[in-house]
């Protein structure tokens, strides 16, 4: 069964935090690190509007996902020092657990993991020159559960977390991530299950960097325009430096989805910078 759905969504924690007290508390720490951002901090009304716009974007993505009737959702995200540390940083990692769990503030998440598909991707990679790391236990984190809260709130189908190292230098090139996506597509096309894929992260933001608080909205708009034009393969030719300069290292997760969809046009894209930290971006491709 070929790939049936492809999605991409930001995983910024403030998407899921409640506007008002939760958002303000979380951002207090951000503003300490990025005092210049504090001068443009969104009002409660703006926080609520951002949340509503994000929910509208997620509603479109969720509708596309549900219409595709998937049997499994591959979730491509980056670890942020939850499962991996400097004693072992995998460039690409496939989860071979039976189940995966995680918590985000008061929200708890628990999904079955599709380890059979994971093992098939792992083996195909070994045969075709992509040596994934793998493991039988991971803890879900905001990079997965923020989009899953909106897209798969009930664990009706298993997921398959795949990790890309977008955070700890040296990180893989856009072309390499695109190739991983091509491989996942090749495997999906040979499976009996209906496979959907979700990339998370981005768009422009600079966490942990001296540039924290900046958002390169111009670059983000350009990326989304390229997706709408169905020229995703062009982005495989971008240098890593181009992405990093714009604070778009997590777009490497999206590059995996682009490899899976080829030059299909993104049917829906949404963009809403939160003014102080991250350009929230969302996309869905009609397969």
């Amino acid at each position: 069964m070929p790939l049936v759905a492809a999605l991409a969504a930001s995983h910024a924690p403030n998407i899921l935090l409640e506007p008002g007290a939760e958002w303000e508390d979380f951002m207090k720490l951000h503003y300490r690190m990025a005092p210049q951002a504090a001068s443009s901090k969104p009002s409660l009304e703006t926080q609520q509007r951002l949340r509503q716009e994000a929910e509208k974007a997620f509603a479109v993505l969720r509708s596309d996902l549900e219409k595709s009737m998937p049997d499994v959702l591959v979730v491509v995200a980056n670890d942020q020092f939850v499962n991996f540390f400097f004693n072992h940083i995998p460039t690409f990692f496939v989860t071979l657990a039976d189940e995966v769990k995680g918590q985000f503030t008061r929200h708890r998440f628990h999904y079955r993991n599709h380890k059979e598909l994971g093992r098939a991707i792992l083996k195909a990679g070994l045969e075709k020159g992509i040596d994934f790391s793998y493991g039988e236990h991971i803890e879900l984190q905001h990079t997965q559960v923020v989009p899953l809260y909106f897209l798969l709130p009930e664990p009706k189908i298993p997921i398959l977390p795949i990790y890309v190292n977008t955070w700890v230098e040296p990180i893989p090139t856009p072309r390499r991530c695109y190739r991983v996506g091509e491989l996942i597509r090749e495997v999906a096309d040979q499976r009996k299950e209906r496979v959907a894929i979700l990339a998370t992260g981005g768009l422009s933001h600079f966490p942990g960097s001296p540039r924290i608080g900046e958002i390169d909205t111009q670059f983000d708009h350009k990326l989304l325009e390229i997706l709408r034009e169905g020229k995703g393969s062009e982005l495989a030719g971008y240098s890593l430096e181009q992405l990093l300069q714009a604070g778009d290292s997590e777009f490497l997760n999206w590059m995996v989805v682009l490899g899976a969809v080829g030059d299909a046009r993104a049917a829906s894209t949404f963009y809403m910078p939160d003014h102080v930290a991250t350009g929230w971006g969302f996309a869905s491709w009609k397969i």
Partner: protein, 81 residues
């Protein structure tokens, strides 16, 4: 010297509740368990993420020192990963 041990302490501060509690009680004792330079120990005691980054801590991990700051100990940031 590698900043591995500096990053390790910061990682443990977020991920290991026992280490966090011990660091709250006695930071000097707790960081003595790690192979840190006097400069790194001083930066941890000062609680300055920017200085930690300059010493080689990963940008995100350097933020975790704020968990010891009385202003941020109960911040919602620590209830998510």
């Amino acid at each position: 010297m590698s900043s591995y041990h500096l990053n390790r302490f910061l990682f443990d501060l977020k991920m290991n509740e026992q280490i966090y509690q011990r660091a709250l009680s006695n930071l000097k004792d707790e960081i003595s368990q790690y192979d840190l330079t006097p400069e790194e120990q001083g930066a941890l005691a000062a609680g300055d993420p920017r200085r930690l980054r300059q010493l080689g801590a990963h940008g995100m991990l350097s933020l975790y020192i704020m968990r010891l700051n009385p202003e941020f100990r109960t911040n919602i940031y620590w209830s998510q990963k």
